[in-house]
């Protein structure tokens, strides 16, 4: 019914795939079946354990972003960032001006040093 596909890197056979799926489903259901089934539905036993606290509806309220790991780094460089942010006023004309000035400085360095 379905042709065997030979790719040059082994073969892909729909029957093998279906057998694998059936075996995987069997083991998944068996593992699931070994879990506890005597918990009480609709009680606290249904909820996740959150150190005994109320489970927050919105995880954003209590999440710590990954960049918080670098808080010391960002705090140390805060004056530098603040200074650099002054240059970012959103005007392309100014950016082009910085570009021209820096090219002039670099050219001077290359030519005279």
């Amino acid at each position: 019914m379905w042709p065997k596909v030979v790719s040059g890197f082994g073969y892909w056979d729909i029957y093998v795939w279906l057998i694998f799926l059936a075996i995987a489903c069997f083991f998944t259901m068996w593992l699931r079946n070994t879990g506890r089934q005597d918990y009480k539905e609709g009680t606290y036993q249904d909820e996740i354990y959150f150190s005994g606290n109320d489970v927050p509806e919105d995880g954003e309220d209590i999440s710590v972003p990954a960049d918080s790991a670098y808080w010391g780094f960002t705090k140390f460089f805060r004056p530098y960032y603040d200074f650099m942010a002054l240059f970012h006023n959103g005007l392309a004309q100014d950016y082009l001006g910085y570009f021209v000035v820096f090219i002039a400085i670099l050219t001077a360095l290359i030519v005279f040093i």
């Binding site: 506890r36 005597d38 918990y39 009480k40 354990y49 150190s51 005994g52």
Partner: protein, 160 residues
């Protein structure tokens, strides 16, 4: 509990324990750690501390219950599946001890949740905690039988 295990007369597995500090000075918690570490090593019997009450059979509570911890302790107790037992470790949790009349306490643990085993001491020695665990096993077996009876009665009532 798995399907076949519930028909066993005895407890089908070693105790898995969830420890909750409800206001302890940490002295009892250190003794609990001593109990599971190599000198006493109850982990060799399969007992271990677990990270969530949903996997636990026993709730260990240390310290008197502070107002802040009352609700949390109740929730943790409610999240342990039946049959479950509660062990209180240390004088503070058993009776309040020197903190009995403190303004910030709800009281001893049995003011908040039902307690099955009291282990006295300040802090109790690991031997005492192990004896308490052995008593908790007996309590759990009793509760398991009661639970099975209750379920079979319920099933009979449903069939009728």
């Amino acid at each position: 509990m798995m399907k076949l295990e519930k028909y066993l007369e005895v407890l089908p597995k070693s105790l898995w324990v969830f420890a909750c500090n409800s206001g302890s000075c940490n002295g009892c918690d250190i003794e609990i750690v001593a109990t599971i570490s190599p000198r006493y090593d109850i982990e060799r019997l399969g007992m271990k501390l677990v990270g969530t009450p949903k996997h636990a059979d026993i709730l260990l509570v240390t310290g008197p219950v502070t107002r802040f911890m009352k609700e949390k302790l109740e929730r943790i107790y409610a999240q342990i599946p039946d049959p479950k037992a509660v062990m209180v470790i240390g004088n503070c949790g058993c009776s309040g001890d020197v903190f009995y009349k403190s303004y910030n306490l709800v009281g001893p643990v049995d003011n908040v949740i039902p307690v099955d085993v009291y282990v006295h001491g300040c802090p109790p020695r690991p031997e005492a905690i192990i004896e308490g665990a052995a008593k908790a096993v007996l309590k759990l077996e009793e509760k398991k039988k009661a639970l099975m009876l209750e379920q079979s009665d319920f099933a009979k009532a449903g069939a009728e």
